[in-house]
C-alpha cells in the first residue's frame, strides 16, 4: 500500500469536519473523493499531504512519496513556463522537464511568462509540475478546474500512465475524469455534523 488512513479525522479551523475514514490506496490504484462543497475534501488532502496533523487516527505513508496539486498552482508569473518547471524539478531533484512539457502539451508555451497564460494553460502547467516531482502518490484537488474537454482527456491520459507506472492518485473532483478504474469514496457518511469546537484558540487565530 502506498498510502493508508486508519480511522482518520480531519479538522478545519479547529472544527472536525470528517471522522472515521479508513482507506488504503495500492500502487496503480486511484481513489476519487466525492462530496458537496465544504465536505472537507481539501482538508483531507492537506492532511494526507502532511501539511496539517490529523485530528484523530493516523496516516501511514513512506516519507517523500506525496505530490500535491492544490487550488493554487504555485507558479511565478514573471518566470517563464520552462523556468517554473525547471525550478520545481530542481527542488525535487529531477533533471528532465521535457517529458512533463510534452505530456501536458506545453511545448509551444515554454518560453512564455506564466503570467501571460490563460487560466487553463496555467492549470496545465500546475499539473505538469506533478510529473517533475517524480513522486508516486498524487493528491489532486479539483485538477480539472478551468480545463477544456481536450485538456481534461489529456490529463486523464497522464493519470492513467502514472497509474500504469505503479503510481497512485487521490482525486477530489466534481468533473468525471473518465477513469473507470478509480474507486469512489463518498465522503457524506463521514461528515461530522455537530460543529463542536475543540478549543477556541485555533479557530480564533
Amino acid at each position: 500500500m502506498l498510502i493508508e488512513a486508519h480511522s482518520l479525522a480531519v479538522a478545519r479551523g479547529g472544527v472536525t469536519v470528517l471522522a472515521g475514514l479508513t482507506f488504503a490506496v495500492a500502487p496503480g490504484a486511484a481513489l476519487s473523493l466525492r462530496g458537496p462543497n465544504g465536505a472537507g475534501k481539501t482538508t483531507l488532502l492537506r492532511t494526507l499531504a502532511g501539511l496539517q496533523p490529523p485530528a484523530a487516527g493516523r496516516v501511514t505513508l513512506a516519507p517523500d512519496t506525496v505530490a500535491y496539486a492544490a487550488h493554487a498552482d504555485g507558479l511565478k508569473s514573471s518566470l517563464t513556463v520552462a523556468e517554473n518547471l525547471a525550478f520545481w524539478a530542481a527542488i525535487f531533484g529531477c533533471r528532465d522537464i521535457d517529458r512533463a512539457v510534452q505530456a501536458l502539451d506545453l511545448s509551444l508555451l515554454a518560453r512564455r511568462p506564466a503570467g501571460e497564460l490563460s487560466a487553463g494553460q496555467k492549470r496545465r502547467l500546475g499539473l505538469a509540475r506533478l510529473l517533475v516531482t517524480g513522486r508516486p502518490v498524487w493528491l489532486l484537488d479539483e485538477p480539472t478546474v478551468s480545463l477544456d474537454a481536450a485538456s481534461v482527456s489529456l490529463f486523464a491520459g497522464v493519470i492513467r500512465r502514472h497509474l500504469a507506472g505503479g503510481g497512485a492518485a487521490i482525486i477530489a473532483s466534481h468533473v468525471d475524469l473518465a477513469l473507470p478504474e478509480a474507486r469512489v469514496l463518498e465522503l457524506a457518511p463521514y461528515r461530522v455534523r455537530a460543529l463542536a469546537r475543540d478549543g477556541f484558540d485555533e479557530a480564533f487565530l
Binding site: A49, A70, A72, D73, S78, W88, I91
Partner: protein, 222 residues
C-alpha cells in the same frame, strides 16, 4: 547547500530583479532618506557628522523593513509555500535560503551604497570602513529576524503592520551596537566591544532563527 536550495536561491534572486520584484524599493528609500535629512536638518556639518551614524543605520533598518512581508507572503498566496513545505528541501533550509536571498537583494546593496550616502551626511573620514563593516555584520540579522517575523505573520491579511511591530523590538540591539560601532569609528575610539556584540547577535540569529521560523511556518500552514 544542496541543489534544491541553490535552485530556490536563484529563483528568489531572479524574481527580485524582474519586473514587480521590488528590488529597488528599499534602496530608493535609503537614498531618499539620506538626501532629505541634510536638507531638513540644515547645512551644519558638525551636527550632520554627529547624527550621520544613527541616520545611516536607522535608514538601512527601515529600508530592510519595507520588503520583509514579501519574504513569505507571495509564496503563500500563489501556493508555492505549501509545495515547498512537502518538498525534499527541509523547511529550515527554505527559511535560511529565503533570508539569504533577502539579504543579497537588500542588506548587501544597502551596505555597498552606505559610504556614498555617508558623504552627503558629512560622516567622519575614519568611519567609512567601520560603516561598511558594521552593516556587513548587522544587516544579515535584519534579514534573519525579518524572515522570522514574516514566518509568524504569513497567513495574516495585511500583516505588514503586525510584522513591523513584532520585528522592531528585535532590531533594537542590532541598531544600537551597529550605530555605536560607526560613531566610535568616527571619533577614533575603541570599538571592539560593540563590534563583537554585533557579530554575536548575527551569529546567534543565524544559528537559531531558521529553526524558529520553520516551526512558525509549520503552524501557520495548517
Amino acid at each position: 547547500m544542496g541543489p534544491g536550495m541553490r535552485a530556490l536561491l536563484l529563483r528568489d534572486l531572479r524574481l527580485a530583479v524582474r519586473s514587480g520584484g521590488g528590488f529597488g524599493l528599499g534602496l530608493a528609500f535609503f537614498l531618499i532618506l539620506s538626501v532629505l535629512v541634510p536638507l531638513g536638518v540644515g547645512a551644519d556639518g558638525v551636527v550632520l557628522g554627529r547624527i550621520a551614524p544613527g541616520i545611516l543605520w536607522v535608514g538601512a533598518l527601515l529600508a530592510c523593513l519595507l520588503s520583509l512581508d514579501r519574504i513569505f507572503a507571495l509564496d503563500h498566496e500563489d501556493g508555492s509555500l505549501d509545495l515547498l513545505a512537502i518538498s525534499p528541501v527541509p523547511l529550515e533550509g527554505v527559511v535560511a535560503v529565503k533570508a539569504l536571498a533577502h539579504w543579497l537583494v537588500t542588506g548587501l546593496p544597502l551596505t555597498l551604497m552606505a559610504p556614498g550616502l555617508g558623504v552627503l551626511l558629512n560622516l567622519g573620514p575614519s568611519a567609512y570602513g567601520w560603516l561598511v563593516v558594521s552593516l556587513l555584520l548587522g544587516t544579515p540579522t535584519l534579514s534573519l529576524v525579518g524572515a522570522f517575523g514574516a514566518a509568524l505573520t504569513v497567513g495574516v491579511r495585511r500583516g505588514g503592520l503586525l510584522l513591523s511591530l513584532l520585528v522592531l523590538p528585535l532590531y533594537i540591539p542590532t541598531l544600537i551596537f551597529g550605530a555605536e560601532v560607526v560613531r566610535r569609528g568616527a571619533e577614533g575610539m575603541a570599538l571592539a566591544t560593540p563590534l563583537a556584540l554585533l557579530a554575536a547577535i548575527s551569529l546567534g540569529a543565524a544559528a537559531l532563527l531558521p529553526f524558529a521560523s520553520a516551526a512558525a511556518l509549520r503552524v501557520n500552514l495548517r
